[in-house]
Each structure stands twice: as structure tokens, then as C-alpha cells.
């Protein structure tokens, strides 16, 4: 049985996934830790937790692919790939039939056109002036002193969502403050914020040919309000995997499996085995 792993070091959370190929590819375990200030440690913790969860020794893992902004800090990684490539791969595995991927990361938001085999056909990422969509929600929550988990459900209660004109996270904060001063309800403000983000993300995705199925990936997919708002402006349902936030790591793990298979033919990775095994 071949075992491989993917580690996705994101700006806020680090995810690890272990997969096995035993006739059929299967996710053995997943682990998630806060990235915090020490990326390397976070990656190791997530990886070890994941192996433990899977009941294997880290040495059993034949190949590790790192992804996410911290990918180069994964000492035990055999190779690295961008999360764009990994999200496409992971999405078409977890949500078969995916042709478009929408992801709101902490660093940047992206839309990806995906081919039949999970390959990237085209992708777009946010402009400078619309950076930090992922943090956009967190910041709004902070300005209103509401916990991030609450904002989604609250936004669904909006009766008259407020209007948010700017795409700039900085200026949005002052807009929110003004609305609070005007005595607008948290629900209506958050409703407005979610719709604004949804519209912005869609206008990003429009730079591609948006084709169904559309999968939403990344941690934000857990936000019911965001999913609702996106489906509202999209005018159609999206595929949201329960493992949405692990999709990058899953994609990385799948690539790790492929590399593993290649390497058994060519043997080029033996040296790296020792490295990851000795870890």
C-alpha cells in the first residue's frame, strides 16, 4: 500500500492530509492546526498529528508535497506546489465534476477553471486593490467585536442588508463604523458585507468562463452566510465538500501519490525517502 501526504501551510491555518492508494485512493486522516508565528513547527505538528490520527509512522509516508504560502518552510517536504494547482486537483477529487473552483484565502482570493482530470486550465487572483478577501470577514467581525464563527449565521438574519460600495478592506472598516454610528443592526451590516464579498468574488470569477460544477474551497466555505450569498449572486448551487478547508492539502497529497508512483519507476526519490523517513 502506498502512503503519501500533503501539507497546506496557509496564512491562518495549517492543514495536513494522509492518503493511501490500495487499488483505490482514500483519505486516511486529516489534521488542522493554527499556523501562528512559527510556520515550520506548525507544519510538523499538523503532519505528526495526521500520521498519529492515521495510525502510521511518519516514516511510512512515501512522499510529502507542501503547498500554501509557507510551503518552502516544510523541512520534510519532498517537493512543493502552489495551492492553485492543489486546489484544482483536490476539488475535482472531493467534488467530482468540478469545472470551476472559487477559493477565498487569507492572502488572496482566486477562481480556477479546472479540466476533466483536475488540471488547471486558467486561473485569476484578486487585484491589489481587492486584496485580503479572506481577512475581510475577520476584520469586519473584529470591528464589530463579533466572533468569526457567528458572522455567517448572523448575516442570514439580515432584513435590509446595507450597501457596501468599496472593495477596499481598509475603507470598508470606516463604512462599517459609520453604519454602527447610524444605529444599523449587526445583521444588516454583516448581510451587506457578505453580499459585497460575494459580488466581488464573482466579478473576479467572471474573468474566466465560469462553468458548472462550481466548487467552493477553503475555510470560508464553512461560513453558511458566505455560501448563501455566493449562490444568491451566482443564481445556482455550489458544491461544498465537508472537507472544503482540507482541499489544498488533499490535492497536494494526491500529487504526492503520483510522484510516488513515478518514483517507483524511476527510483529518483529514494534519497528523499530517507529524508522523510529519517524525520
Amino acid at each position: 500500500m502506498r502512503i503519501a501526504a500533503g501539507v497546506d501551510v496557509g496564512s491562518t491555518q495549517t492543514k495536513a492530509v494522509v492518503v493511501s492508494d490500495n487499488g483505490g485512493v482514500k483519505v486516511l486522516a486529516r489534521a488542522l492546526v493554527d499556523t501562528g508565528a512559527n510556520v515550520q513547527r506548525a507544519a510538523e505538528r499538523a503532519f505528526d498529528m495526521c500520521c498519529h490520527e492515521a495510525g502510521i509512522h511518519s516514516g511510512d509516508v512515501g512522499f510529502v508535497v507542501g503547498t500554501g504560502y509557507g510551503r518552502y518552510k516544510i523541512a520534510f517536504g519532498n517537493t512543493q506546489m502552489t495551492e492553485i494547482t492543489c486546489h484544482a486537483k483536490g476539488a475535482s477529487f472531493l467534488c467530482p465534476g468540478t469545472r470551476t473552483v472559487i477559493d477565498m484565502g487569507g492572502q488572496d482570493s482566486k477562481a480556477i477553471s479546472v479540466g476533466a482530470n483536475g488540471e488547471v486550465l486558467d486561473f485569476v487572483m484578486n487585484d491589489k486593490c481587492a486584496a485580503g478577501t479572506g481577512r475581510f470577514l475577520a476584520n469586519s467581525a473584529e470591528v464589530m467585536s463579533i466572533s468569526l464563527d457567528e458572522v455567517g449565521p448572523l448575516s442570514l438574519k439580515a432584513k435590509h442588508p446595507v450597501k457596501i460600495a468599496t472593495v477596499c478592506t481598509v475603507f470598508v472598516e470606516s463604512d462599517i463604523l459609520s453604519y454602527l454610528a447610524q444605529g444599523k443592526t449587526a445583521e444588516d451590516i454583516l448581510g451587506g458585507v457578505h453580499i459585497a464579498i460575494a459580488k466581488r468574488t464573482l466579478s473576479l470569477a467572471r474573468r474566466l468562463n465560469i462553468e458548472p460544477e462550481i466548487a467552493m474551497t477553503g475555510g470560508v466555505a464553512r461560513n453558511v452566510g458566505m455560501v448563501w450569498a455566493l449562490e444568491e449572486v451566482l443564481g445556482r448551487k455550489m458544491l461544498v465538500s465537508p472537507d472544503a478547508q482540507f482541499i489544498g492539502a488533499v490535492g497536494a497529497a494526491l500529487f504526492a501519490l503520483e510522484k510516488l508512483d513515478q518514483s517507483f519507476e524511476s527510483g529518483i526519490w529514494r534519497g528523499d525517502h530517507a529524508v522523510s523517513g529519517g524525520h
Binding site: 506546489m81 492553485i84 488547471v120 486558467d122
Partner: protein
């Protein structure tokens, strides 16, 4: 480790020497007031006209980019912002103004107050403001050659006449200022030199159609651009480009490329991020991706499609060059067409659009350009944003991430053997 392969032939040193000699002339002009110097814009510059007075061009843009490459652009930029320039003003202008205010020069040498500030207003509106501010700042005489940009695919008769008249007025102006008579024969010889240099430059550009390309038509072309703008109309220029062509021709015939293995062929649109020139180049070198054509290298003139200066019609051909034969004075859709030809005739795998916040003429609407190339023509296109002068707008991690993702995808579509990533 990533490959660091830029063109390093004998002409590389030659090019340096030529530019150094140029700066020495300017230094001398600062001390003795001779030769006469004329500030001009790179785009559609009429350096041939200056030869009629033995005058030397002074290019604020070149100073600005020299500063940026040397990682010295931020201080002058901040100095200019203290004067009231906005963070969203063109950083080329800010760097240049900041230098004059703080008395900085890129080489450490002296720069003269120009005999004439000649605003060859080609394209970019910022040129007008820039030179207007320079005239105010340096108390130097200003003359505008107002060059109508290409509303249609060919310039109209009245466009041509308007520019020719102004060229003749410029001659009068310079005769007053320098006190010397315009040497028409020398002007014609200069135009003749230019046409020869242009022929050589065009052949060099066409060498990039070979696979592998003997040089990078973006990063390496930039090193060749200095002599092109300063010496085009002089024998030194012809000599230099003869050598350059010979050297690159030999390299091409020996099937030597920029990299051991030319993995990807690209067309580059937009100026480079000079403050991170090396870093940016390495992001492509890592993937053994070679630029085979670039729009930026046609800012000073567009010659690979056949235009040459004409010694039999010196004024008219100078006017034609200023109006129709440089990328900034052509309209946005003509740029689409230029890129399309590059992609097809130089057979490129993809297009990189580099949005620079400083230059709206280059960058405003590049999203539509991306839309045209991806959706209309199905050309793999990457769109990235930073700046050509202001180091504060280059997000290294984000840019690298996007470039890597682009090549990961391109690689899959080409099913080329994977180039392994290293940290």
C-alpha cells in the same frame, strides 16, 4: 538553485562603455555648458533632429530606471511625496523630481540643466505634466512637440503636417537657444544612420523566432535599448548593433539558447519591475521560460514590422516614427494586434501581462487585453500587478506564487517533463 542566465557576450561590456561615455558627455555639459543637451522622452524620441545641432539627449526615464535598478528609487520618491505628489502619481516622475530636489544622480556624476526641455508628447499624458513640472523646477525653456496618437490605423495627412511643422519650429527654437545653425546634412546622415541601426535591431529581434531563442527579448533587450535610444543616429550605434547581430546570429546558428533547455516561450507586455529586476527575472529563469518578444522593447520605436527612417524624407519619416511607429502612441487595440502577431509569428506558449500602477497608458485596460487573449484567442495569459519604479508595490511572495501556478498549469498543458522546484 535557480538558473541565472542573462546575455553576457562581449557586447555586454561594450554597451556599458557606451552608456558610460554618454553620462560623461552629460557630466561635461554640466560643467562647460557644451555640448547642448535636450531632455526628451524615450517614446518616439527624435534623437535624429538633435544630431543636426550635435546636441546630446537627456532621458529622465533612463535616470529613473537606473535609480530603480540600483535600489535607490525610494528616497527620491518620498522626497517628491513631501512636495505633495500623491502615492498614486507616476513614480518615474516622482523619482526624477526627487533627484533634482535632492541633487541625486543615478551615476553619482553631474547632470546638466538642459538647453531645452523638449516634450515630445507621444502617448502618455503624464509626459506633459512631467516636463511642465521640470521646466518649472529647473527654470529651463520648454517646447512641446504635440504628437497626435493613432485614432485610426494610419495617421492622417493633417496629423503628419501638424508634427512636421512642429519639428521645424523645434529647429528654430534650438537655433535660438544654441546660437548655432541647424546642419541639415548632418541631420540627413543621422537619419541614414538610424535606418541602418533599425535594420540591424530588427534582425536581432527576428532571431528570437528561432528555437531556442539566442537572447531574452524582454530582459536582455532592455540592456540593448540604452544604445538604441542614445546612439541610434550615430556611427557608434551602427557599429555596436553590427557586433550585437553578429554575436547573437552565431549563438543562434549554434542552437545556443538562453537556457540549456528552452522550456517555455513567452510574450511580455508592460514594463518590468525595475526595483526587483533580478528577482523578477529569476522567477522566470527557474522555469527556463524565455521571452521571445515584448511590447516594452518597442517603446522607443517599432521596427520589427518593417518601418525605417528615410534619409530622402528626413522630416516626414521622423514625424512618421513619432506618430505611428512606437508602441505608446499607437492605440490600445493596435497593441492587441502587435501582441497577437508576436504570439503567432514568434510562436509563443503564453502571454505575461505586467500591470504597473505608475503607467496608466500602459496598464489601464489590460484586464480587457487578458479577456481578449484568453477568451477570444485561447492564449494562456497571466496577469500580475506591481510597479516599474516604486519598490513598495512589489509583493514578492504573491507574484512568485502566481508565476509558479501559471507555469505548473502551462507545463501540464504542454506535458513537458517537469522542471523540479527548489527552495
Amino acid at each position: 538553485m535557480t538558473e541565472k542566465k542573462e546575455y553576457r557576450g562581449s557586447i555586454h561590456q561594450w554597451q556599458k562603455d557606451l552608456m558610460l561615455a554618454w553620462y560623461e558627455q552629460l557630466d561635461q555639459a554640466a560643467d562647460t555648458g557644451s555640448p547642448a543637451t535636450v531632455s526628451m522622452m524615450i517614446s518616439g524620441n527624435c534623437v535624429e533632429l538633435l544630431e543636426g545641432f550635435g546636441a546630446v539627449p537627456l532621458y529622465p526615464e533612463v535616470n529613473a530606471l537606473q535609480l530603480a535598478i540600483r535600489h535607490q528609487s525610494l528616497d527620491p520618491i518620498l522626497a517628491a511625496e513631501d512636495l505633495g505628489y500623491a502615492t498614486d502619481n507616476c513614480a518615474y516622475v516622482k523619482a526624477d523630481v526627487g533627484c533634482i530636489v535632492k541633487g541625486i544622480t543615478p551615476t553619482g556624476g553631474k547632470l546638466p540643466t538642459p538647453t531645452l526641455i523638449l516634450c515630445n508628447f507621444v502617448g502618455c499624458n503624464t509626459y506633459l505634466k512631467w516636463f511642465e513640472h521640470l521646466a518649472k523646477l529647473q527654470q529651463a525653456p520648454l517646447y512641446v512637440i504635440d504628437v497626435p496618437f493613432m485614432r485610426a490605423n494610419e495617421p492622417s495627412r493633417s496629423d503628419l503636417e501638424y508634427v512636421i511643422k512642429q519639428l521645424q519650429e523645434t529647429v528654430k527654437k534650438l537655433e535660438q537657444l544654441t546660437g548655432s545653425k541647424f546642419d541639415y546634412d548632418r541631420f540627413r546622415q543621422a537619419v541614414a544612420c538610424s535606418s541602418r541601426t533599425e535594420e540591424l535591431w530588427s534582425r536581432i529581434k527576428h532571431l528570437a523566432r528561432r528555437s531556442p531563442s539566442p537572447f531574452d527579448a524582454y530582459f536582455d533587450a532592455i540592456t540593448l535599448m540604452g544604445p538604441l535610444y542614445v546612439y541610434r543616429a550615430r556611427p557608434e550605434g551602427v557599429e555596436f548593433f553590427e557586433a550585437a547581430l553578429a554575436e547573437l546570429q552565431a549563438k543562434a546558428d549554434a542552437h545556443k539558447g538562453v537556457y540549456e533547455q528552452e522550456h517555455f516561450r513567452l510574450v511580455m507586455e508592460g514594463p518590468p519591475p525595475y526595483p526587483y529586476f533580478r528577482t523578477f527575472r529569476d522567477m522566470f529563469a527557474k522555469w527556463q521560460a524565455c521571452a521571445v518578444a515584448s511590447t516594452y522593447s518597442t517603446v522607443g520605436g517599432l521596427w520589427e514590422f518593417g518601418f525605417r527612417h528615410d534619409p530622402d524624407n528626413p522630416f516626414e519619416s521622423v514625424a512618421m516614427h513619432m506618430i505611428a511607429q512606437n508602441v505608446t502612441n499607437r492605440n490600445f487595440l493596435q497593441r492587441y494586434e502587435q501582441i497577437r502577431r508576436y504570439i503567432e509569428e514568434w510562436n509563443a506558449d503564453g502571454l505575461i501581462i505586467h500591470f504597473v500602477k505608475s503607467c496608466r497608458l500602459f496598464s489601464a485596460g489590460q484586464g480587457d487585453m487578458r479577456d481578449y487573449f484568453t477568451k477570444q484567442l485561447g492564449v494562456p495569459t497571466l496577469y500580475i500587478e506591481s510597479d516599474l519604479e516604486d519598490p513598495r508595490y512589489f509583493a514578492e511572495a504573491q507574484t512568485k506564487n502566481r508565476i509558479d501556478a501559471f507555469f505548473e498549469a502551462l507545463e501540464h498543458s504542454k506535458t513537458a517533463t517537469p522542471v523540479r522546484e527548489e527552495t
